[in-house]
């Protein structure tokens, strides 16, 4: 073995090839099957996509680096299930490009944040976290309220995601900018199409408390309110596992 190596280390190209082989095996064995093995991602028919407004909010969440302090992945440990809710399933991030599972909980997990607090709470909290949670160390995001949401390019965003396999229809792509506006301004004509395209369960309301314009705050709160709400699969699974404890 050492004799062979004695020869190998005299050949630069041979050495490089050996490195490539040695360093490829693990990745191929672990990653390739994730795309092929059935059941890696649960088959859930009711899994829905993000609306354009929620997607815009998600992009702001990414932009501000929220994932650095908040995970969106409840592990299958009893204390986590007790604290945050049913453990996360793979299907719940099926349409997440990229996933935001996170790696650190400087703040709490957000995987099931949706509907836990009111819109007003979120707006006050984002504006200055210490107004509602005095001990919080989260940064203030006051500028979200002051910044109008950019929606013109939303069709492009949906189109790219559709290419990557997220089931956005052509109609959804074409109407993305007006759907984004409509979801946050229920009184406008644009609001009608949102429920039609994304379902009656979609939250269509003024999220930031200001009906006169659509801000980045609208988008972020719309996104936070949908976390964990794209499918009921995790709740169904929990109910099935713990019969009699259905909640």
């Amino acid at each position: 073995m050492f004799g062979f190596h004695y020869k190998l280390e005299r050949k630069a190209i041979g050495f490089v090839i050996a490195i490539i082989i040695a360093a490829s095996i693990g990745g191929i064995v672990e990653i390739a099957p994730l795309f092929t093995i059935e059941g890696t991602v649960e088959d859930v028919p009711d899994m829905r996509v993000y609306t354009p407004l929620e997607l815009a909010g998600r992009n702001i969440y990414v932009r501000e680096g929220c994932y650095a302090c908040h995970s969106q992945m409840i592990r299958s440990l009893s204390d986590e299930v007790e604290r945050y809710g049913p453990y996360s399933l793979a299907v719940e991030s099926k349409y997440d490009h990229p996933m935001l599972w996170g790696s650190k909980r400087t703040g709490p997990d957000l995987a099931r944040l949706g509907d836990k607090y009111s819109d007003e709470w979120h707006v006050r909290h984002l504006n200055n976290p210490r107004d509602v949670v005095p001990e919080s160390v989260m940064p203030r995001y006051g500028w979200l309220l002051r910044t109008p949401l950019k929606v013109e390019d939303m069709s492009g965003h949906l189109a790219v995601l559709a290419k990557l396999g997220v089931p956005y229809s052509q109609e959804m792509i074409d109407n993305a900018p007006s759907d984004a506006i409509g979801q946050a301004q229920p009184d406008r004509d644009e609001a009608g199409g949102v429920a039609e395209r994304y379902g009656d369960a979609t939250n269509i309301r003024v999220f930031d408390g200001n009906p006169s314009r659509v801000t980045e705050m609208d988008a972020v709160v719309a996104y936070l309110q949908i976390l964990g709400k794209l499918t009921d699969a995790a709740h169904r699974q929990q109910d099935a596992e713990i019969p009699g404890d259905a909640s």
Binding site: E9, G26, G65, R75, E92, P98, M138
Partner: protein
């Protein structure tokens, strides 16, 4: 710098610089958003700055062939200085965000100054800015000495070092503006990623070309590690960053992977960025500078073979230990733990090989802060790899994951191992390349050493404590069978540790400032040049190389 380039190299530099300016101009003019245009403008400035620099020396007489009798160290010098500037800048940002966790309002009411945007500035600045420049600079130095061959040309090393720093600037300036893919340690957007691939290919070819010119029959072990660093980082970078931009003239892109596959690929990348950037590359550094400084041969050649292939093969498997108890299939998690534990063997083989190399030179470790930096680095490497394997075990991970324990672990590695081995290598190399007998102030090296050690200990102990307390508070049940503490209780408990951590980080930052000052003063010393470089000279044509010894 330009004066040492030949005519054709100046022409090459001019062409590259003009092309870069044009790309920048197009990006500026046609950018679909202000961010993309800003980055175009930065690229254009970089290109035009280079045009100006090269143009100024364009007509100067060509350098004499005498230069070919010496190693080419100008890009090494630039890399050392850039690395130290990045260190000071990024550690400053790191300490700032550390204070923000204790006092969240210690910032400006502006988007760019919030924790979430500053954090990748810190991580990218230290890993890629400081670490990357240190690796590139030392690799240029080491590959020439161990091959006893001059770099094949004088243009590509400059392209690598300056192009790489352009990537770092694009990344970091992007994070301030909110341009990020959110993939940890790979936050840079698609166009910066493509640019890095270009730079990296040139770097790889430069390495291979130098190896092909070598006057030593064997490739020395340090080069194995640098090669693994270059090759595998390229694989990781390309696969993890595959993305589709929303517009070819816009900054935003969407990664082609989603959900569980994205998570696995991200941590396959993430953990192997640790493996092949922060471990393999720096082991290459250690295998050259530690024996050289101690003036002892490497303890065991066979141990270095076992540890090299052990690390290269096993590390790739372990990324899934970042995803225990998640929606990642169980079998992948199990493979991750298994290889994480196996990995302890080659890791400790390397650490042991380094420490045993010091046998017979421990008096030097006592007296010489430079060698002591490298010794402490090897100890921290051993400690951190043990801790890493330990934390990868599922039940341990159930406690440690998501807590500050991970932060403690990472910083034991980056402060204790990566930074200290770099400082050790720099303090050894700086007098050699600037032809000085010693550093400007050996006392300041000593000061830097103790600031680094103290800072690391305070930081790591603070985070170990806070991490374990967090983990325990989150899972403590009371007698009734409900959770004892709210999340906010655990946050309040962290406050004193966050202050201690920020103080430890401050000491470490102070050390980096001392180091930058000392290196700066050393390069400015104007004593008559003396040849203190202990490397063997470039061979006269036809002289065969000798036996395998440390430092070759």
């Amino acid at each position: 710098m330009v004066l040492n380039l030949t005519r054709s190299e100046r022409q090459g530099a001019m062409i590259v610089a003009v092309l870069l300016s044009l790309v920048g101009l197009v990006m500026t003019l046609f950018g679909a958003d202000g961010y993309f245009s800003t980055h175009g403008f930065i690229i254009m400035l970089a290109g035009m700055g280079t045009v100006f620099l090269v143009g100024r020396g364009y007509d100067a007489p060509e350098p004499s062939d005498e230069r070919l009798a010496h190693y080419y160290d100008d890009p090494v010098k630039a890399g050392v200085i850039l690395a130290m500037f990045w260190a000071v800048f990024a550690m400053f940002v790191g300490d700032w965000v550390a204070w923000l966790l204790a006092y969240p309002d210690m910032t400006f009411d502006a988007a760019w100054a919030s924790f979430g945007r500053l954090r990748p500035v810190h991580t990218t600045g230290v890993i890629f800015g400081f670490g990357g420049n240190a690796l590139i600079a030392t690799s240029f130095y080491v590959m020439q000495r161990t091959c006893r061959a001059r770099l094949p040309d004088q243009l590509s090393p400059w392209f690598v070092i300056l192009g790489y720093n352009l990537f770092c600037i694009l990344s970091v300036s992007g994070y301030f503006m909110g341009i990020t893919q959110s993939k940890e340690y790979a936050e840079a957007e698609w166009y910066a990623d493509i640019w890095l691939v270009v730079v990296w290919v040139v770097y790889f070819l430069l390495y291979l070309r130098t190896l092909q010119r070598r006057n030593e029959p064997h490739i020395y072990v340090a080069n194995w590690y640098y090669l693994a660093f270059i090759v595998v980082v390229a694989m990781l970078h390309i696969v993890n960053n595959l993305a589709l931009p929303v517009s070819w003239f816009g900054a935003k892109s969407y990664t082609i992977y989603s959900g569980v596959q994205d998570a696995m690929i991200q941590w396959w990348y993430g953990h192997n960025a640790v493996a092949f950037f922060l471990t393999s590359g720096f082991l290459g550094m250690m295998y050259y500078f530690l024996p050289k400084r101690a003036n002892r041969p490497i303890f065991s050649y066979r141990l270095s073979i076992i540890s090299f292939w052990g690390i290269t093969f096993s590390y790739i498997w372990v990324g899934s230990h970042h995803l225990h108890y998640t929606a990642l299939p169980h079998w992948v998690q199990t493979l991750g733990v298994t290889f994480s534990i196996i990995l302890l063997v080659p890791s400790w083989a390397s650490a042991g090989n380094a420490l045993l190399t010091l046998n017979g030179a421990w008096d030097k470790v006592r007296d010489d802060a430079t060698l002591r930096f490298m010794m402490v680095a090897a100890v921290f490497y051993g400690l951190t790899t043990f801790e890493g394997s330990f934390m990868a075990i599922r039940p341990v991970n159930s406690l440690s994951h998501y807590t500050d324990w991970t932060v403690a672990h990472v910083h034991a590695g980056t402060l204790g191992w990566v930074s200290m081995i770099s400082y050790g290598a720099f303090y050894a190399m700086v007098p050699w390349i600037w032809k000085q007998k010693k550093m400007f102030s050996p006392r300041l090296v000593e000061v830097h050493f103790w600031l680094s050690v103290a800072g690391t200990f305070i930081y790591v102990f603070a985070m170990w404590n806070s991490g374990i307390i967090q983990g325990l508070m989150w899972r403590t049940y009371n007698d009734v069978g409900t959770l004892s503490y709210s999340f906010i209780d655990s946050m309040v408990a962290m406050h004193p540790y966050y202050i201690a951590r920020a103080f430890g980080g401050f000491l470490f930052l102070l050390g980096a400032c001392v180091g930058l000052y000392n290196i700066w003063k050393t390069m400015k010393v104007r004593t008559p040049a003396m040849v203190s470089d202990p490397s063997r000279p470039l061979p006269v044509a036809g002289v065969a190389a000798g036996s395998v010894e440390a430092g070759e």
